[in-house]
Amino acid sequence: LAMASGSIPFPTSDCYNLRCSRLETSENNCGVPLHFFIPPLPHSSSFINTPLSSFCPPKNSMTVQKPFRLAHGTTTLGFIFQGGVIAAADTRASAGGLVACPAVHKITPIHSHLVVTSSGSGADCMLWERILIREIRLYQLRHGHRLSIRATAKLLSSMLHPFKGTEMCVALTLCGWDNGPKLIYVCSDGARLQGDVFSVGSGSPYAYGVLDRELRWSLSKGEAISLAREAVFRATHRDAYSGNNVDLFHITKSLESGNVLFDVVHQSRKSKRGKNKS
């Protein structure tokens, strides 16, 4: 996750891009003041990106002078197996070459059957997680049932669409359970993919390397947890922008007695010295 210091001034001009006009007409603007929602001077991104450009920030910043190069340093992953869904992430927030915080929560529970792992810009992710929690809860209160995870992903994707082409960067993986395990990747570019295994962030190629070798549907819960931990650990070893500890969540179908559904397997705040980072 990247943390940017310095405040972004609110735009003073009144001419806002029509791209955001959909937000103006939505009811109540989700309760957020309009000038907060509308990004300053959005511009469309060029399609011909250099291969690793998703790991580099866009070069043109017309309004805010960036104090340093924002890196989207993170390793997060999620996968589905016979025992449910595992979500894992590192806990480092980097700001350029500085470890801004060694103990960040990159996995956030939305409701009892859904967590979201976040990568990209830290501030953007925190904001959108809060908005998502609020919108899901409002839907539940208004309609009396919980929104399905696919619909949650589509709702999130629609809410992110007006900001496409701006410098907002969020890449979220929704990991949850509704009539079966679900894993959906949503990013601010507009992509929305449902699948069985996703890893996101600058450390994701390293994590994929470990995951792809050993991931099977028939893993036991203990094997799946240690595989997730191993994958994040290997990624933190190679990637400079990932590190510190590993957060792990296991999401499963609810028990009839209504027990707590999150099995927070390993949330360690202590960084151990030596080669074992988890």
């Binding site: 399609f47 994707s157 570019d189 507009g190 992509a191 993919l193």
Partner: protein
Amino acid sequence: MEYLIGIQGPDFVLVAADNVAASSIIQMKHDYDKMFKLSEKILLLCVGEAGDTVQFAEYIQKNVQLYKMRNGYELSPSAAANFTRKNLADYLRSRTPYHVNLLLAGYDDTDGPGLYYMDYLSSLAKAPFAAHGYGAYLTLSILDRYYRPDLSRDEAVDLLKKCAEELNKRFILNLPSFTVRLIDKEGIHDLEKLTLGAK
């Protein structure tokens, strides 16, 4: 990176698309379907920028279905293609152009099969065969050499296999499998997925 191909026969259209959903250098999905069913006999194949493809294709899809609900009959493939082109052109010089490359394939009960090629600048061309993506540079000459207007279905699938083998041999990126569909007067048929081993 992404590849689309369409081949029109005397009474059918064969279309295929690769199954890779990529994000920079990573393949995020290996079984992603790039075809959108506009109506019982029209398919829209859509590649391009990440969010634009799904947003634009679903927009066209819902509008074509709305036309049917309002008027009681479906849009012809030619009308759907022109409608799509018009929408693409309207957004082209706005602040939010859609960067998508499309193939629209359909069967009209009066006019027969049709394959329409559209690119992100909203040019539209009806063609007997067409391809999108870097793979098109390698395979269009194969289509030029072996295509005949009176291909049978099996011959068209063989021609498609020739193109896929060429990609497997010479294309720098790995495209392991392709979704293949055929449209004729009976509707849209799913054919067997085309998978090629490593060479």
